[in-house]
């Protein structure tokens, strides 16, 4: 029965992935990407990895795609330009990728790949322990150091996102006057706070176009 489920999920996932590339509107692309992620979550269940299926739905289809849709809405893209490729070039590219895919398929189907020896985590062992618990034990013993490094990566992600997304004037104003609320520094008129001009480090890095579109 599970091969039928797999084929249905694979069809849904392929349609979603192709539509991500083909749709003109980025919001529609994002929604089709959610569809592809959901089909992948179903495949994780088929592969007896329920923990990863839950994480796939919560983190990918939930958090990451919400971030995507939020940014798309935030940017308010007015025009949708043509992708700049002629139809001939598109056709050539399409055939090239179809050939690439066919080559990959042919290599895989030529024979059973050498899978190597089986490990000790047989389905019975994992089922007796519980999939989530088995992953947790592995994560906190063998992979403790990479797990801690992961927390560092997330910290860098948080700080990087905040620093990059904050407007330059707001950031410098908040550094210069920590008591001032951030919204007070929003450039409504053309006037910039004096602290921005006086900051010796920042004056060189401000390009002319970022000053034009600063407000």
């Amino acid at each position: 029965m599970s091969p039928i489920v797999f084929l249905v999920l694979a069809a849904i996932g392929l349609v979603g992935a192709v539509q991500v590339v083909l749709q003109r509107n980025p919001v529609v692309s994002a929604l089709y990407l959610v569809l592809a992620f959901m089909s992948l979550a179903g495949m994780y269940v088929l592969l007896s990895a329920p923990f990863l299926a839950a994480v796939q739905v919560v983190v990918y289809a939930g958090a990451i795609m919400v971030l995507f849709v939020f940014v798309i809405m935030l940017l308010n893209l007015r025009h949708d330009i043509d992708d700049g490729l002629s139809h001939v070039a598109r056709r050539i590219l399409g055939w090239a990728f179809a050939l690439l895919l066919a080559g990959v398929f042919w290599t895989m189907l030529r024979g059973r790949p050498p899978y190597g020896p089986s490990g000790e985590d047989s389905p019975e062992v994992v089922a007796a322990l519980g999939n989530t618990q088995a992953i947790g034990i592995r994560l906190y013993t063998d992979y403790l150091f990479p797990f801690e490094v992961t927390s560092l990566i997330l910290l860098v992600g948080i700080i990087g996102a905040v620093v990059l997304a904050m407007r330059r004037t707001e950031m410098i104003a908040s550094i210069a006057e920590p008591s001032a609320p951030l919204s007070a520094a929003t450039p409504t008129s053309g006037a910039r706070p004096a602290a921005v001009i006086g900051e010796p480090m920042k004056t060189g890095s401000v390009g002319p176009e970022s000053q034009e579109h600063g407000s």
Binding site: M1, P3, L14, Q56, Y60, L75, L101, G160
Partner: protein, 109 residues
């Protein structure tokens, strides 16, 4: 009605690998064809997910849970990467009023 044998047993690992390869190639094609930075980012996510599926498929095939732990790490890195990358795209949009990579060519010289 009797189903053929291939539709009743467990799913062969090769099927997952083929689906992962198809997903990856679609991601590569989208990355190269589309010019919208946001859609290109989505195509990167698609490729990461194809690699994840392959890892989980091999984790089942080799009866080794390390593959699933690795997928967990890949998801964490992808989350951090999306946060920083989307912030960069917002910054580019603020500076250039566009997210189309053909129009962001200041560094081209």
């Amino acid at each position: 009605m009797k189903l053929p044998d291939v539709l009743t047993g467990p799913v062969p690992t090769e099927w997952y690998l083929l689906f992962g390869a198809a997903l990856f190639v679609i991601g590569v094609a989208g990355m190269l064809v589309r010019r919208n930075a946001l859609v290109m980012f989505m195509c990167i996510e698609l490729m990461l997910n194809a690699a994840n599926l392959t890892l989980v498929a091999f984790a089942r095939q080799l009866q080794n849970l390390d593959g699933q732990v690795f997928v967990f790490f890949v998801m964490v890195v992808a989350a951090a990467e999306v946060a920083v990358g989307l912030a960069i795209i917002i910054n580019v949009f603020r500076a250039r009023e566009t997210v189309y990579v053909d129009e962001v060519n200041r560094l081209k010289g």
